[in-house]
Amino acid sequence: MSKPPINWTAINADPRFQDLHRKKSVFLWGLMTLSVLYYLLLPIGAGYFPALYGKKIWGPINFGYLFALSQFVAAWGIAWVYARRANREFDGMTAELVRHASLIRAVK
C-alpha cells in the first residue's frame, strides 16, 4: 500500500509525457474543430443554399439528404479514427508513464 508519493510536476515535465501531451492536443483539438465545422455546414447550407440542397442526385434523394447522412458517416469516422490512434499509440504511451510513475523524479 505504501507507494512513494508521486511527483506530478516531474511527470508533467517528463519528455515522454510532453510528447504524449503534444500529440494528443494537436490530434484531439484538430478533430474536434473539424467535426464542429463540418456539422455547422449543415444548418448553414440549409439556410443559405436551399437550391443546392434540393438538387436531386440519387433518384428522388437530393444533396441535402445525402449531406445529412454524410454527417453520420463523418461522426462515426472521426470516432473510429480517434479510437484507432488512442488504442495503438496513446494507450501504450500512457501505460509506459503509469508503469514508471513512482520512479519519475525531478532532475535537479
Binding site: 484531439l28 478533430l31 443559405y48 433518384g59 453520420f72
Partner: protein
C-alpha cells in the same frame, strides 16, 4: 381545448404534448385492447423492478450507489448512455417532426449524434481519470473545493429540474393520450416507479434500467423500420420516391407552404418534403440551437456521471463508441419511422391526436400491425407506448440520481460535513436526497399540467452548454483556469442562458397569440360565408361534403376563440413583455461564447494558488489515469 402550441420551436416537440390533447379522455388505444397495453406495461415494469431488487442487495457503499462500483463494462455503459440520451423527445418527437416537416426534422436529429464526438474527444476519458461521483468532484479538483461544489450542485440541480419537468409533463400526457389514465395519476406513477429504481438500486439499478430500455427501444425501432421499408424492397430511392409520390405528403406540404404552393405540381410538392425550410425559417436560430445541442450534451450532469461507472478511461472510450453506434443507428432509423408515418398514417391524422406530432411512431406501429381494429396493430401500439413510458421513467431516474448525488455528495458531505461522512451516512443521505428530488419532480410535474414546458429542454441544454461545459473544459485543459473563472463563467453563462430564453420568442406572448387566433377566426368566418353560399347553390349530392367542411371550419373557429378567451386580459409574457426582446429562440449563440469568455476573464482577474499548484497533478492525471479511483470487486 388546444392552447396555441409552440411546436414549431424545435427542441420542444415532445413537449407540445403538454397541451392536453383532445383525445385525452379516451386515449389512442381502444377500450377493447386496453388490457393488452396493461400486460405489456406490466411486463416491462416487472422486469425493471426485479433488476432493482437484485441491484438493491449490492448497493451498500457510496461507490455502489453513485457509480455502480465502477464495474460497469464499456459495452454496458454504451447502452446505458444511449438509454440516458434517447429520451422520449428523440423517440417520439423526432419521428413526429420528420413525419410533419420532412427534411428539417431529419436535419435536427443529426446534432444529437455529433454531440458525442465532443464527449468522446475531450470529456469522457479525462472525467473518468480524475472524477469521483459528480460534476462537483471534477471542478473541485483544482478550484476552491467548497465554492466549486456548491456551484456545480446548483447547476446540476437547475439543469436536471428543467429537463426533468419537461419529461414528467411529457410522461403524464403520453400515458393520458395513449390509454386515458388521468394526468395526475400518470405523473405519480412515473415518479413512484423512478424513485423505486433510484432509492433501492442507486446507479446499479439505474444503469440496468437504461440498458433494458435502450434495447427495447432499438428492437421496437428496428422491427418498425423492417415493416415500413420491406414493401419497397429495402431500396432507399424506392422508399423516398414513395414519399414524394404520396398524396398525403403532398397535401401536408401544400398546407405548410400555403398560398405560394398553389402553382406547384403534385410531384414538386412531394419533392419539396425532402428539402429544407418547412420547419426552420431562421438559419441563425438553427445554428444557435445546433451549438447548444452539440456542446450541451458534454455538460449534462447525468451524462458526465455515466463515465464514473466504468473501471478505466479506456472503458469510458469504448462506451462512447458504442453509444455513438447505437444513437447514430437510432437516428438513421428515425428517417424511416418519420417518413413511414407520413405516408402510412398521414400528417393530418397524426396532428389530430397530438398537435406536436408525438404520436407518429405509435400510430405507425398500429398501422403496421394491421390498424386500429386488429389485435396485432394494438399489440404493436401497446409495445411502442410501453417503450416510450419506460424511456421517460429511465431518463427521469437518471436525472433524479444526478441531482440527488449533487445534493448529498457535493453539498451535504462536501460542504456541510467537510468531507467527513461514513459510507453508511453518505448512502443514507443520497437516499434521502433522492426522495426529496423525487417529490419535487412529482409536484412540479402536477403543477405544470397543461403548461407549455417546451422551452425547458432547450433551456437545460443551453445552460449545460453555457455554464457547465466552459467550466469543465477549461478546468481540464487550461493551465490558468481557477476558482474566480468558474464562479464568473458558470454564473454568467447560466444566467445569460436563462434570461435570454425568458425574453425570447419561445415564451408565450398573449398579444401575438391573440393576433394569430383572431386572424384564424377571421379566415374561418370568410371561409364559412363562402361555404354557406356554396351550400345554398349546391346539388343535394354535394351538400354532405360541404357540410363536413363547414363543421371543420366551425371547429377551427371554436379552437381559436377558446384560445383567445383563455388569455383573458393578459397582455404580457411571464416576465412582463409584450413582445420578445431577443429574436433567437435558443440563446446558445450568445450565451455559450459568453460563458467561455467569463471563465477566461474571471481566471485572469483572480489569484488562486491552489488552482496553479494542482495543475500539474490534474493535467497528468486527466491524461494518464494515474491514481484514478479503482473499480471495486464484488
Amino acid at each position: 381545448m388546444k392552447p396555441a402550441l409552440a411546436f414549431r420551436s424545435p427542441v420542444v416537440i415532445l413537449l407540445a404534448l403538454s397541451s392536453a390533447s383532445a383525445m385525452a379522455t379516451e386515449g389512442a388505444v381502444h377500450d377493447r385492447f386496453k388490457w393488452l397495453t396493461f400486460v405489456v406495461f406490466g411486463a416491462i415494469i416487472a422486469v425493471t423492478l426485479y433488476v432493482t431488487y437484485v441491484a438493491a442487495k449490492r448497493v451498500k457503499s457510496a461507490t455502489q450507489f453513485y457509480a455502480a462500483g465502477r464495474s460497469v463494462s464499456g459495452i454496458q455503459n454504451g447502452w446505458a448512455i444511449a438509454g440516458d440520451y434517447l429520451s422520449a423527445a428523440s423517440f417520439l418527437g423526432i419521428a413526429g417532426l420528420i413525419s410533419l416537416y420532412g427534411y428539417d426534422g431529419f436535419m435536427y436529429s443529426v446534432g444529437w449524434l455529433v454531440a458525442y464526438v465532443i464527449v468522446l474527444l475531450v470529456v469522457a476519458e479525462p472525467c473518468r481519470n480524475i472524477g469521483k461521483y459528480t460534476l462537483g468532484d471534477i471542478l473541485a479538483f483544482r478550484n476552491g473545493p467548497k465554492t466549486a461544489k456548491i456551484l456545480a450542485a446548483i447547476s446540476t440541480i437547475v439543469v436536471s429540474i428543467f429537463y426533468l419537468t419537461a419529461q414528467m409533463v411529457a410522461g403524464g400526457v403520453l400515458i393520458e393520450t395513449l390509454i386515458g389514465i388521468d394526468y395526475e395519476v400518470s405523473v405519480i406513477a412515473v415518479g413512484v416507479l423512478m424513485l423505486a429504481y433510484v432509492l433501492f438500486g442507486g446507479m446499479v439499478a439505474t444503469t440496468w434500467v437504461q440498458i433494458i430500455k435502450a434495447m427495447l427501444l432499438m428492437t421496437a425501432s428496428v422491427v418498425l423500420v423492417v415493416f415500413t421499408w420491406a414493401p419497397y424492397g429495402f431500396s432507399l430511392p424506392g422508399f423516398m420516391q414513395a414519399v414524394v409520390d404520396n398524396p398525403k405528403v403532398q397535401a401536408q406540404v401544400l398546407k405548410l407552404l400555403g398560398d405560394p404552393a398553389t402553382n406547384m405540381t403534385a410531384q414538386e410538392l412531394g419533392q419539396r418534403f425532402l428539402e429544407p425550410g418547412l420547419l426552420f425559417k431562421n438559419p441563425i436560430d438553427q445554428i444557435s440551437l445546433g451549438m447548444a445541442l452539440v456542446l450541451g450534451t458534454a455538460g449534462m450532469p447525468h451524462i458526465l456521471m455515466r463515465f464514473f461507472t466504468v473501471p478505466t478511461a479506456k472503458d469510458a472510450r469504448v462506451s462512447v463508441i458504442w453509444a455513438m453506434a447505437i444513437i447514430g443507428g437510432f437516428y438513421v432509423l428515425t428517417l424511416f419511422l418519420g417518413n413511414g408515418a407520413a405516408i402510412n398514417v398521414a400528417a393530418a391524422e397524426i396532428t389530430r391526436i397530438d398537435q406536436g406530432g408525438n404520436m407518429a411512431g405509435p400510430l405507425l406501429a398500429q398501422f403496421l400491425g394491421g390498424g386500429p381494429d386488429s389485435l396485432l396493430g394494438n399489440f404493436f401500439l401497446a409495445f411502442v407506448a410501453a417503450v416510450a413510458f419506460a424511456t421517460i421513467v429511465a431518463v427521469v431516474a437518471a436525472l433524479v440520481l444526478a441531482s440527488a448525488s449533487a445534493m448529498s455528495h457535493d453539498i451535504w458531505v462536501g460542504v456541510v460535513k467537510g468531507e467527513h461522512a461514513t459510507q453508511e451516512e453518505e448512502v443514507r443521505a443520497a437516499r434521502i436526497c433522492s426522495i426529496i428530488v423525487g417529490v419535487i419532480a412529482i409536484t412540479i410535474g402536477i403543477a405544470a399540467k397543461g403548461q407549455n414546458v417546451a422551452h425547458l429542454v432547450a433551456l437545460a441544454f443551453a445552460v449545460a452548454a453555457s455554464s457547465n461545459l466552459p467550466a469543465v473544459l477549461l478546468t481540464l485543459y487550461w493551465k490558468k483556469c481557477n476558482t474566480g473563472g468558474i464562479v464568473l463563467g458558470m454564473l454568467v453563462g447560466a444566467i445569460a442562458a436563462i434570461a435570454l430564453v425568458l425574453v425570447s420568442p419561445t415564451m408565450t406572448y398573449p398579444l401575438s397569440v391573440k393576433a394569430t387566433n383572431e386572424k384564424a377566426i377571421k379566415a374561418a368566418d370568410d371561409k364559412l360565408a363562402e361555404l354557406n353560399a356554396d351550400l345554398a347553390a349546391a346539388e343535394p349530392t354535394a351538400q354532405e361534403k360541404i357540410k363536413a367542411a363547414i363543421t371543420a371550419q366551425e371547429n377551427a373557429k371554436k379552437t381559436a376563440q377558446d384560445a383567445v378567451a383563455k388569455l383573458g386580459n393578459e397582455r404580457t409574457s411571464m416576465v412582463g413583455l409584450e413582445k420578445p426582446l431577443f429574436e433567437l429562440k435558443n440563446p446558445g449563440l450568445i450565451s455559450i461564447p459568453l460563458g467561455f469568455l467569463c471563465v477566461f476573464l474571471g481566471s485572469l482577474l483572480y489569484r488562486d494558488r491552489r488552482a496553479q499548484e494542482m495543475w500539474d497533478e490534474l493535467y497528468v492525471r486527466q491524461n494518464t489515469g494515474i491514481a484514478a479511483e479503482a473499480a471495486i470487486a464484488h
